[in-house]
Symmetry: C2
C-alpha cells in the first residue's frame, strides 16, 4: 500500500519524451524511496515534535533559492505598486493615474504572456504536473472566479464605452487599460480554472517567479481598484480643492470634480453617466476577482514541487432538505437587511439631518438584531464543537492554512474600524440615541467577529464526516492505534476505504450535525447581507460624524478606507468558508 506514490511517479515519468535524463533520475529516486520504505522503521511521531518535524525537511529543502527569488520579486513589485498608487492619489501633477495605468498595463501583459507560456509548456511536457492537490481550487472558488471574472469583463466593457465617450479629453491609456485587463481576466480565469490544483514539478524557479508575478499583479490591480472604489465612496468634506473627490459620487456634499480636474469635458454620447455609475457598481466584483485569483496563485505557488496523491478526495454532498430553520431564518434576515439597506441609502441621499438620523437608527437596529442572533448561533456552534470529540485534521494543507490566515487577517480590518468607533464613541461621551446604538453595534460586531473566527477555525480543522463508514468498534488498544496510524497515511489509499477514528464512531449523534448545518446556513445568509451592505456603499462610519470628529477626518477616512475592503472580503470569504464547514459537518 505504501508504495503507491513512488510507483505512480516512476510510471508516469516513463512517458516523457524530451527529458530522458530527468526520467532516469526520477526512477532512481523512486527505487531508492521504495528501498527505504521497506528498510526503515521511522521514529515515533506523537512523542517529540522535533522528531516529527523531520518530515518538514522536504518542505524546507523546497524553499531554496527559487523560492527566495520569487518572494523578492513579489515583494518588490507590490511595494513599488503601493508607492505608485499612493503617489497617484496624493500627487496632482507628477504622478498621474496614467503613470499608474502604464505600470499596470506592463504588469498585466507580462503576466498574460507568462500564463500563456505556462499553459503551453505544461501541456507539452508530460511529467510537468505529476500530482494534483485535491484541497486546492475547490469548485466554489473556481465558480466564484468565473462569476467575478465575467463581472470584471463587463466592468471593463463599460469602462471602455465610458472612456471612448470622453476620448477627446482623457488619456488613451485609460481606454487601453480596460482592454488589456479584459484579455488578462479571460486568460487568467481559464488558466486558473484548469491548473488550480497543479503541483508543478519542472522549471520550478520560472514557475515560482511566474506565479508570484501573477500574485503581485492581481494584488496591485486589487489595490488600485480598492483605492478608486474608496475614493468614490468617500468624499472628503474638508478639502474641496483636492482631486481625490469623485465625479458622480452619490454623496454630493462637496463640489463634484472630475478625477483629472476637467469637469467641463463633454461626453460624445449621452450614456457616460449611466456607464460610469454601472461600472462603479461592478467594482466590488472586480475586487473580489483579484483576491480570488491571488489566493489561487498563492496556493499554486505553495504547491510547487509538492508530491501528493490526486485520488484523495472526499465525496461530500450538500442537500437543501437536511436543513430548514437556518436557511429560513437567514433568508428573513437577508430580506429585512436588503429592505433596510435600500431605505437607508434613499434616506441618506436626501441630505436631511432628521432623515439621516432615522436611517442610522434603522441601520444600527437591523445590524444589532442580526449580530445578536449570529453571535448566539455561533456560540451554540462553538459549544457543539467543544462537545464533539471528532479528531482535528492531521495533514497540513496550504489551502486550509491560507483560508484561516485570510479569515483572521481580513477580519483585522473590521476589528480596526470597530475599535476606533468604540474609542471615539466613549471619548465623545456616548450622547444621543444614535451613538448608543452605534456603540452597541460596534461592541457586538467585535464579539461576533471573535466567535465567528473561532467557529470557522475549528470548523475548517475537522475531518469531514463520512456516512458510508462501517461502524465497527475496536476495543483492543493496540488495534486502535494501528488503525489510527494507518489513517495517517490515508492519502495514498482511496478515501472510502479509510477507517474512522474510534471516538467518532462512539460519540457522533445526528442532531449535532443537523444543528451545525442549520447554524452554518444561517450564518451564511447573514454574512451575505452584511457583505451586500458594505460592498454596495453603505458607510454609516461617515454618515455618523462621531468618528471623524474625534479623530481627524484624514485619519478616520484612512482607517475606514483601509479597513472596509478587508471587511468586505472577510464577509465574502466567511460565506465560502461557512459553506465548506457546512459540507464537512
Amino acid at each position: 500500500m505504501r508504495w503507491h506514490a513512488p510507483q505512480q511517479a516512476s510510471g508516469l515519468c516513463l512517458c516523457s519524451s524530451n527529458s530522458g535524463n530527468m526520467t532516469t533520475k526520477k526512477d532512481l529516486e523512486a527505487i531508492e524511496n521504495q528501498i527505504s520504505t521497506i528498510q526503515v522503521s521511522s521514529h515515533e511521531e506523537t512523542v517529540d515534535p522535533v522528531l516529527a518535524h523531520g518530515g518538514f525537511k522536504t518542505m524546507e529543502q523546497r524553499r531554496n533559492w527559487g523560492w527566495l527569488l520569487s518572494g523578492f520579486i513579489s515583494l518588490n513589485i507590490l511595494l513599488l505598486g503601493i508607492a505608485i498608487v499612493s503617489g497617484s492619489v496624493f500627487n496632482k501633477v507628477q504622478i498621474t493615474s496614467s503613470h499608474l495605468l502604464i505600470f499596470l498595463i506592463f504588469l498585466v501583459i507580462l503576466t498574460t504572456i507568462w500564463m500563456v507560456y505556462y499553459k503551453i509548456h505544461t501541456s507539452r511536457v508530460c511529467n510537468a504536473v505529476l500530482y494534483k492537490d485535491s484541497h486546492a481550487g475547490p469548485i466554489w472558488l473556481r465558480g466564484g472566479l468565473v462569476l467575478f471574472g465575467i463581472c470584471s469583463v463587463i466592468m471593463d466593457i463599460f469602462k471602455i464605452v465610458y472612456y471612448v465617450g470622453r476620448k477627446d479629453c482623457e488619456s488613451p491609456v485609460k481606454i487601453a487599460f480596460p482592454v488589456v485587463q479584459a484579455l488578462f481576466v479571460i486568460v487568467q480565469t481559464y488558466v486558473l480554472w484548469v491548473h488550480a490544483k497543479d503541483c508543478v514539478q519542472i522549471q520550478k524557479i520560472i514557475t515560482g517567479c511566474g506565479l508570484m508575478l501573477t500574485l503581485s499583479t492581481n494584488l496591485t490591480v486589487w489595490m488600485m481598484a480598492v483605492t478608486e472604489e474608496s475614493l468614490h465612496q468617500t468624499v472628503a468634506p474638508v478639502n474641496p480643492s483636492s482631486n481625490i473627490s469623485s465625479n458622480g459620487g452619490h454623496r454630493s456634499n462637496v463640489t463634484s470634480q472630475g478625477r483629472s480636474g476637467n469637469s467641463e469635458c463633454k461626453c460624445i454620447h449621452d450614456m457616460c453617466d449611466v456607464f460610469e455609475k454601472a461600472y462603479f457598481y461592478l467594482y466590488p466584483f472586480n475586487i473580489e476577482y483579484s483576491l480570488f485569483a491571488s489566493a489561487m496563485s498563492y496556493v499554486m505557488w505553495k504547491n510547487i514541487g509538492r508530491q501528493m496523491d490526486e485520488h484523495h478526495s472526499h465525496n461530500l454532498h450538500f442537500s437543501l432538505w437536511d436543513v430548514l430553520i437556518g436557511p429560513v431564518a437567514g433568508l428573513i434576515i437577508l430580506v429585512a437587511g436588503l429592505a433596510t439597506f435600500v431605505m437607508y441609502e434613499v434616506d441618506v441621499a436626501k441630505e436631511d439631518p432628521k432623515k439621516k438620523e432615522e436611517a442610522l437608527i434603522m441601520h444600527y437596529t437591523m445590524n444589532i438584531v442580526a449580530l445578536l442572533l449570529m453571535s448566539i448561533a455561533t456560540l451554540v456552534g462553538c459549544i457543539i464543537f467543544r462537545m464533539d470529540k471528532r479528531d482535528p485534521v492531521s495533514a497540513k494543507s496550504p489551502t486550509r492554512s491560507l483560508d484561516v490566515g485570510l479569515i483572521v487577517g481580513s477580519s483585522l480590518g473590521q476589528y480596526l474600524i470597530y475599535y476606533f468607533s468604540i474609542v471615539a464613541l466613549l471619548a465623545s461621551g456616548v450622547q444621543g440615541h444614535v451613538n448608543r446604538l452605534d456603540l452597541t453595534n460596534s461592541i457586538l460586531t467585535v464579539i461576533q467577529l471573535c466567535l465567528q473566527n473561532a467557529f470557522l477555525i475549528k470548523g475548517l480543522h475537522r475531518e469531514p464526516f463520512k456516512e458510508t463508514e462501517t461502524a465497527s468498534v475496536f476495543t483492543n488498544v493496540m488495534a486502535v492505534r494501528e488503525r489510527d496510524l494507518e489513517r495517517r497515511s490515508s492519502s495514498i489509499v482511496p478515501a472510502h476505504t479509510l477507517p474512522m477514528p474510534l471516538k467518532l464512531l462512539q460519540g457522533q449523534l445526528p442532531w449535532k450535525r443537523r444543528i451545525l448545518k442549520e447554524i452554518c446556513t444561517f450564518l451564511l445568509f447573514c454574512n451575505v447581507i452584511l457583505w451586500i451592505i458594505s460592498a454596495f456603499g453603505a458607510r454609516p462610519q461617515f454618515d455618523n460624524t462621531v468618528g471623524s470628529d474625534i479623530f481627524e477626518f484624514q485619519t478616520w477616512a484612512a482607517v475606514v478606507n483601509i479597513g472596509m475592503p478587508f471587511g468586505i472580503f472577510y464577509r465574502m470569504h466567511s460565506v465560502a468558508s461557512l459553506f465548506e464547514v457546512c459540507l464537512i459537518s
Copy 2:
C-alpha cells in the same frame, strides 16, 4: 535510543506531589508511546509530504480552545491599544495622553501580577516545566534584554525626575506610569531571563493567556514609545497649531510647543531640559526592549505544551582571531559613519540651506559607499552558500521561524520608505546632485535589503558546523540512508555523538568558512552604524524635501514614521542574526 523522551517524561513526572491524577495519565501515555514505538514502523517521509506532516498532528491538537482564546485576547488588546494611541495623537481634548497612560498602567500591572503568579506557580509545581527549548532565549537575546532593560529603567528614572519637576502642571499619571513601568521592566527581565526556554506543561490555557497578555502589553508599550519618538523626531511644518509637535525637538523650524500645550509651565528644578533630552536619547533602547520581550514571550507561547529534550545544544564558540579583514573594514566604516553622522547632525541643525545640502551629499555618499561594499560582501556570501552543499536544517523551531519572520517583516518598513523615495525622485525628474545621490542611495538600499535578507534566511537555515566530527565516509547507500534517518531523530541524543551528513564531510573547505565569518563580521559592523544613524535621529527623508513635495506632507510623514521604527529594528535584529550566522558558519 528512541525511548529517551518518553522515559524522561515518565521519570520526571513521578516527583509530582499535588497532581497524582496527571502523573498516572502521563505515565499511561508514556507507556503507550513506548508500545507504539516498538510496534509501528511508520510511513516513509520523503515520498509524500502529506504523510510526513502527520507529525504535525500534535501541533494542531495543541492549537485548541486555549490557543484561540489567548490569540483573541492579544488581538483585542492590541487593536484597542492602536485605537487609543491614535486617538491620543489626533485628538486634542477627549482622548489625552493621560487616558492612554491609564490604559497602559492597567495593562502593565495586570501583566506584572501574572508574571509573579507564573514564577511562584511553576516553582512550586514540580512537573510544570518538563522540557526546555534549547533554541529559545539564546544568550545574546537575554543579554540584550538585560542591557536594554537597564536603559529602560534609567529612562524611567529620568522621566520621573522630569515630571516631578513639572508636577504642578502635569497630570500625576505621568509620574505614576514610569514608576509602574520600571517595576514591570525589572520583574519581566528577571522572569524572561529565568524562564525563556520553558515548555510549560500545566495550566496551559492560563499560561497561554498570560503570555499573550505579556506580548500585547509589550507591543502596546512599544507602539506608544514609537509614536512618542516619531513625533519627537518629526516636526510638522504645515500645522503649527497641532499639538503633535514636540517640546525640545532639535529641529526648531516651527514654534516649539508642549505636548499638553502649556509651554508657560515652569520646572521646579533647573534640570528639566537636560533630563528630557536624556530620556529621549534612551527611547530607542526602550523600543528595542519591548520588542525583545515580545519576541521572547511569543516563543514561550509557541512552546507551551511542546515536548522536547533539554540536552540538545551545540557548543558553538567564537574567536576574534578567526577573522581579520571583516572586523577591520567594518570598524573603518563604523568610525567613518559615526564621524559623518555627527557632522551631518551639526550641519543640519544650522538651518543654512547650503550647509544642509553639503550635509546631505556627505550623508548619501557615506551611505552609498557602505551599501555598495555591503552588497558586494553579501553577494559573495550568497554565492558561497550556493556552492556549499551543507544540508539545510530539518527540524522546525519557533525561534528560527520567528527570526526569519521578524527580519522579513521589519525590512518591509525600509522597503516602503525607499520605494516611496524612488517614486518621488523619479516623479520629480531627479534634478540636482543631491537627488541623484538620493536615488542611487535608495536603489542600493533596496538591493542590499534583498541580498541581506536572502543571506540571513539561508544562513539561519543551516546546520551548525561541528569541528569535533570524525571524518568517516560511507560508501554504502543503505548505510548512508540509515545514518541520515538517525540524524533526523538527533534531538534525543547528545549533539556531539551525531554523524554528519555525507556531503559535508566531502565538500567542506576551511576558506569558505573563513570568508563567511569575515563577511558576517563586516556586515555586523555596517548594520550597527546604519542602526545608530537611524536610531539617533538622522532623518534625511525630511531634510531632503522631495518626498514631502511629491506626496503630501501628511502621507510622507506617515510613511517615514511608520517605516522608520521597523527599519531601526531591522538593523538591530540583523546584527543579532548576523552574529548567529557567524557562529554557525
